[in-house]
Each structure stands twice: as C-alpha cells, then as structure tokens.
Symmetry: C2
C-alpha cells in the first residue's frame, strides 16, 4: 500500500517540480540565446566562440543537471531506491562531464588569447565548486554505490552528503551569477547602465537561476517531501552492508 500511495502534499509538490523544471530549462535556453545571439555563437577553436560554450556548459551541467540529480530522490518516491541511486549518480556524472568540458573551453580560450587564469573571484568560487563537486561525487560513489564504508559510517555521512549537495548547488549558482556579472562588464560595460537588452537578458538569467536554487532547496529541505521510509529499501540496503555493523542509512 505504502509503495503505491501518493507522497504527502503531492499536488503542491508536482507544481513545485514543474516550476523548477521551467526555471531550470529557461535558464539553459536563455544562456544559449545570450551566447548564440548576442555573443556570436559557438565553436571549438580557441576563439571567443569557444568561450561561449563555458556559460552554457556550466548552467546546464553545474546548475540544471546537478539540481535535477538531487531532485530524483524526491520525484521518484515509488521507485526502488537502488535504481534512484543509480540515476542520481549517472545524472551527476553527466553534470560533471559537461562542467569539465565547460572549464576546458574557458582555459583553452584563455591560453589562445593570453589571458591569465584563476585571478578573479568568479574563477576562485567556480573552481572550488567544481573540485568539491568531484570530491562529493567520488565520496558518494564510495559510500553509497560501492559499499566500502560500514552501515554506521554511511548513515553518519548521509546528512553531510545531503548538506554538501545543497551547498554545491548554491555555490554553483553563485559562481554563475559572478560569471554573468564578469561577462557583462567585460563585454558591454559602456551600455550596461543604459539597460541594453543583452544586460537585461543576462540579469533575468541571474534571477531565474536564483529562483531555481530557492525552489530546489525548498523542496529538498521540506520534511513532507522526503522519501518515506520503506521496508523494501531497508532490505536493499542490506545488500550493500559490510560486515561490521547492523542498521542501514536513513533516506536522503
């Protein structure tokens, strides 16, 4: 019965998920329009057209896909936990690959244009986010997909993993906002203060990203949207359990 029962506050939750997807996709589309229409499009030749891939990859990978990877635990409440875990890990891996392509794009462009790397607050925050994202993904793999840690250790680490996941999404969005501001001031400083359409579009992109982040954090932190405990999950957890302790981690 519990398996097929709709989650509590289901209708409101469905609206929130829908709204988050609209906001996330609109952010990706707006980034594409900004870089495609206002900044001349995309290429992989060390030119500024290669740079244009950077914002697109970061918004798609580090924000939208990372956010959705977190959301799968709330959305697929009636799926077997192992499948949801796999999906969570795979979307995160995809997000990581796209983000790394985005970072390579900008380093390549810097090298070709002889622009120094890693001097700005945007680059410091962005690189810290990406490195911590890699660490979080590897730790998640070791703790939850391959059972190298004991059940007790996994249960202890779970709340840290969830907290760090949300911090990483927020840091990703913050880094994107810094990138938007940097790009606008490098490209259109003389007309930015005249409310040039490109500036307004990029500002709206920033507001959409913030809204996506707020909605995501709300859905993840609300108790009523958590995956309810499920006896089937408990028995599944036992498959991953190492020899030392009893019990299994609680639901993320």
């Amino acid at each position: 019965m519990e398996d097929s029962a709709p989650p509590r506050g289901c209708s409101m939750f469905a609206w929130l998920v829908g709204a988050s997807q609209v906001l996330g996709l609109a952010s990706v589309v707006l980034t594409g329009v900004w870089m495609g229409h206002y900044r001349g499009g995309f290429a992989w030749d060390g030119s500024s057209y290669q740079f244009n891939l950077h914002p697109l990859c970061m918004v798609l990978g580090l924000v939208f896909l990372q956010g959705d990877a977190i959301l799968v635990y709330r959305v697929f409440q009636n799926e077997a936990k192992r499948n949801v875990k796999m999906l969570h890990g795979i979307i995160h891996l995809l997000a990581l690959i796209i983000s790394i392509i985005g970072v390579v794009a900008v380093f390549d462009f810097h090298r070709a244009a002889k622009i120094p790397d890693m001097y700005s607050l945007h680059s410091w925050c962005g690189m810290a986010t990406l490195v911590l994202f890699c660490v979080q993904w590897v730790m998640g793999l070791l703790f939850f997909l391959f059972p190298v840690a004991s059940s007790w250790l996994r249960a202890s680490y779970l709340s840290i993993h969830v907290f760090c996941g949300l911090v990483l999404v927020v840091m990703s969005i913050g880094s994107c906002l810094l990138g938007i501001t940097e790009k606008l001031l490098f490209s259109i400083m003389p007309v930015y203060s005249l409310f040039a359409p490109e500036g307004v579009l990029a500002n709206i992109l920033g507001i959409l990203l913030v809204s996506f982040g707020v909605l995501l954090c709300y859905m993840i932190t609300r108790e009523e949207y958590r995956r309810p405990p499920n006896p089937e999950e408990e028995s599944l957890s036992v498959h991953f359990k190492t020899l030392t302790e009893g019990g299994s981690p609680t639901t993320p």
Copy 2:
C-alpha cells in the same frame, strides 16, 4: 535539569560558533581595510568616499549581523525564549538600519555622480534581498513578537520563516560577491588579472563570506544544535496565544 544541561554536541558547536564569528568579523575588517586603505576612506558627501560606506554597511548589516541574529537561537539555548526572541528581533532591526544606510549611501553617490540606478544584476539581487528582508522582519514581528496570528498559523509559518531567513543570508552573501566583482572590475580591471593586492584581498573577502555562510547554514540545519523543547517555553508561548486554537509553535 534540562534547562541547565549543556546542549548536545556542545564542544563542537562552540568551536563552530567561534569559527563563524572569526570569519564574520574578519569579513567586516577586510571590507574596512579594502575601502579604507585601497579606496581612500569614508565620508558622507556624495563622493566615492560615501560609496565606500556601502560595502562596509552591507557586509556588517546584511551578512554579519543578520547571520548572528539567526544564530542567537542556537547559542542561547538556556535563556528564556522570550528574551532570545527579543534579541533576535533587535539584532535584525540593527542589521536592517545599517543595511538601509548602506543603500542610501550608494543611491546618494549615484545621484551626485549621475550614474543610473538599478541596472546591474548586483543591484537587482541586492534590492530583492533588502525588500524581502524587510518583509521577513515585519512578518516575524507580527507572527512571533506581537501575537496577531493564531498559534496554528504561527506554527505553520515558523518553518517558512526559518527557511526564508537562511535564503536571505545566502542571497545577501551572493549579492556581496556580485558587488565585490563589480567594484573590482570598475576600479582595477587592467591590473586585476595581474593578481594586484587589492584584487587578491577582495577575492579573499569573498571566500570568507562564503565560508561564513556555509558554517552558519550548517549550524542552523543540524538537528543536534536545535534548541531542545522546553516546558517553560511552551507555557511562555501560551501568553502569546490568541483565542482560536490550542498548541504552540515548535522551536525555531
């Protein structure tokens, strides 16, 4: 007994509070050094020296004091809840006043220098944060200090109030980072990429602000650092209760 017992995980919590205060105060001091030493100091004459008050007021009011106002519920676990509520409201009011002075400083400077207002992503995010902060403060006052709402309504609103408080601190920090990036690109763009000391100092300020935010969110969201339920608080809540319903809000 419960009143005088130390909170769970007390020693670790004390270290975390200490670290957050070091990070917060270091952020305020670093902003003062940046504006005082590198940007020529402070004045209230419509000049760029008046602008310099803007970052200082926002970091002090919107980040440090707002963060500490939230933290009082976790730090003063053995104080009467009414006193802690008052302290929470008073520090927030102080934060609000200092933030408004900071905003007036920059609008005055813009008027004198004939710079348009509210065109940048920093200004959009910052103004949204300040307006929502005012709304949150008034709502907090009405719901929790003056009992205009029923107990049931207050209990329902409490989790929203706590969530919005954390969102506001994060948005404040994000707005500060955007302001740091804007100020650096307006002031030292030619030498920022050469790792000019002013740029490095401002980047470090950004990292300190992010660290303060992460630590604060960690302390507020950890279950073991929450104020434990207290029968005395329950009876105090009854004083604020309006006529309609029974029960009292849970602890923030």
